[in-house]
């Protein structure tokens, strides 16, 4: 009798199936399309108000691979790593419940884990027992964790004419541009590894180029730190990174160091983060006037 396909007329499909769709009863009861057997009846599944699992990984190619009801969520959270099978963040329960707690169900091995979902301000958790760790470590989340732990320092702008009161450069003469503080945290490379749950991720970050926005609409893109100006160079142009202004004025110069952080893992997963770190200063440019008396 329950075998009949229940009419779905008028039943709006609101959402995704619950995690219990695989219940034994499902083999006997056929629910209308868009509904699931929840163990006792066919029910629609209500859409959760909003995603709240945190944001994905920082605007890069290494986007989060974790989703909840079609929404991309952070794979790692204070509640542990996302477990797609249970649709929740999982981490070992701390402290572990006492051995006489019903959750152990007679087991003396394994451990108790906490499954937590926090969506739209609502948090719900429960315990479950597992013989071995169900905490699936997401390499992308580890990579994000490494990136977040690294220091990326803005470039100290080296520029001639100098960025100080009373210093005025001449229109048409070469402007030299360089990074005054080249180092691992400013231009890279810097590398770091992290291991969790048997997954090891190594991330290497370096600046691939520096984009100099000159304030007059012009842009100079340079590779490397550039060449610091010395008086001996006179009016020569920089051999590595320079610019020429066409008009007098006070300009805001921004040095944007473009980082590429590539990561690989022992699982075969890999990815790239691209991001930039910027710093600015101001310079004045004037025109030389020839005065004849």
């Amino acid at each position: 009798m329950l075998k009949r396909l229940l009419a779905a007329s008028g039943l709006a499909v609101l959402l995704v199936a619950t995690g219990a769709s695989g219940a034994q009863a499902a083999a006997v009861v056929e629910c209308p399309q868009g509904t699931v057997w929840n163990g006792d009846e066919c029910s629609l599944v209500i859409k959760t108000p909003s995603s709240g699992g945190g944001s994905g990984g920082g605007g890069s190619a290494a986007k989060s691979a974790c989703t909840y009801q079609g929404m991309q969520i952070a794979c790692a959270s204070p509640h542990g790593y996302w477990n797609a099978a249970r649709n929740c963040y999982v981490q070992p329960s701390s402290p572990q419940p006492p051995q006489d707690n019903a959750i152990w169900a007679g087991h003396t091995d394994g451990a108790i884990y906490t499954c937590t979902v926090f969506i739209g301000g609502v948090t719900s958790s429960y315990w479950f027992w597992a013989a071995s760790s169900p905490v699936a470590v997401d390499p992308a989340a580890l990579a994000q964790q490494i990136r977040d732990s690294m220091t990326f320092t803005p470039a100290q702008i080296g520029i001639v004419p100098e960025a100080k009161p009373g210093s005025i450069g001449l229109v048409g003469l070469p402007t030299w541009l360089w990074v005054q503080n080249p180092g691992a945290t400013v231009l890279g490379p810097q590398s770091k590894s992290l291991t969790s749950g048997g997954v090891t991720v190594t991330l290497t970050a370096k600046v691939t180029s520096t984009t100099w926005t000159m304030g007059d609409g012009g842009v100079a893109t340079c590779v490397g730190a550039g060449t610091p100006y010395q008086d001996a160079y006179g009016g020569d142009p920089s051999p590595t990174c320079g610019y020429r202004y066409a008009k007098q004025g006070v300009y805001t110069v921004t040095a944007r160091t473009n980082w590429t952080a590539t990561w690989t893992s022992n699982t075969g997963a890999q990815g790239v983060f691209n991001f930039a770190v910027a710093n600015s200063t101001s310079i004045a440019m004037g025109e030389a006037q020839v005065i004849n008396r």
């Binding site: 329950l2 229940l6 499954c115």
Partner: protein, 178 residues
């Protein structure tokens, strides 16, 4: 004709308890009041003490299920007291999603006629009519999420096992209407 109706010779005492749960059964009996708790199945002399305990485990299962579904203050972990294995995992996941989505249950489950209890020594199969006709599942806007044509009185066959020193439901299969 459901399995429930096919059971012909049901002792009067059994019939009474059955009708408390599955209203509309073949034998007239007092109707339960609205305040009747989940548990209504009372083992009878048909079953030995062990088997009666197995039936009681089904009743407890629905009592706790009703509690966690109606009162978010009740920890989902309470389900571990009455269920284990895949069954508790399934129900935990379902009711966690309900809570996150703001779905609340109204009404109580009635555990009705016990069709059969087999097994012993800590491993039983209990076949029982579960009446959810007074139960509704409401979304945050108060709309029912139960399919209009969903069966509401269903014969469940429960696997009851002694787990960690207590009888718990470990399997649940819906097999017919009642």
């Amino acid at each position: 004709m459901t399995r429930f109706h096919a059971k012909a010779a049901i002792p009067a005492a059994v019939a009474l308890l059955v009708l408390a749960g599955c209203a509309g059964g073949p034998v007239a009996s007092p109707t339960p009041t609205a305040t009747t708790p989940s548990a209504t199945a009372t083992p009878t002399s048909t079953f030995n003490d062990e088997q009666q305990q197995a039936v009681a485990a089904v009743t407890r299962f629905y009592e706790v299920l009703d509690q966690v579904a109606t009162d978010y203050e009740v920890s989902l972990n309470a389900l571990h007291e009455v269920a284990a294995g895949d069954l508790v995992d399934q129900r935990l996941q379902t009711y966690q999603q309900y809570r996150v989505a703001g779905v609340r249950q109204t009404g109580r489950t009635k555990v009705g006629e016990v069709s059969s209890v087999t097994g012993g020594a800590g491993a039983f199969e209990v076949t029982v009519c579960v009446d959810r006709s007074d139960v509704d599942l409401l979304d945050p806007e108060g709309k029912s999420i139960i399919a209009a044509d969903s069966p509401r009185r269903v014969v469940h066959q429960f696997g009851i096992r002694e787990v960690g020193g207590s009888l718990r439901a470990v399997q649940d299969e819906a097999i017919s209407t009642c």
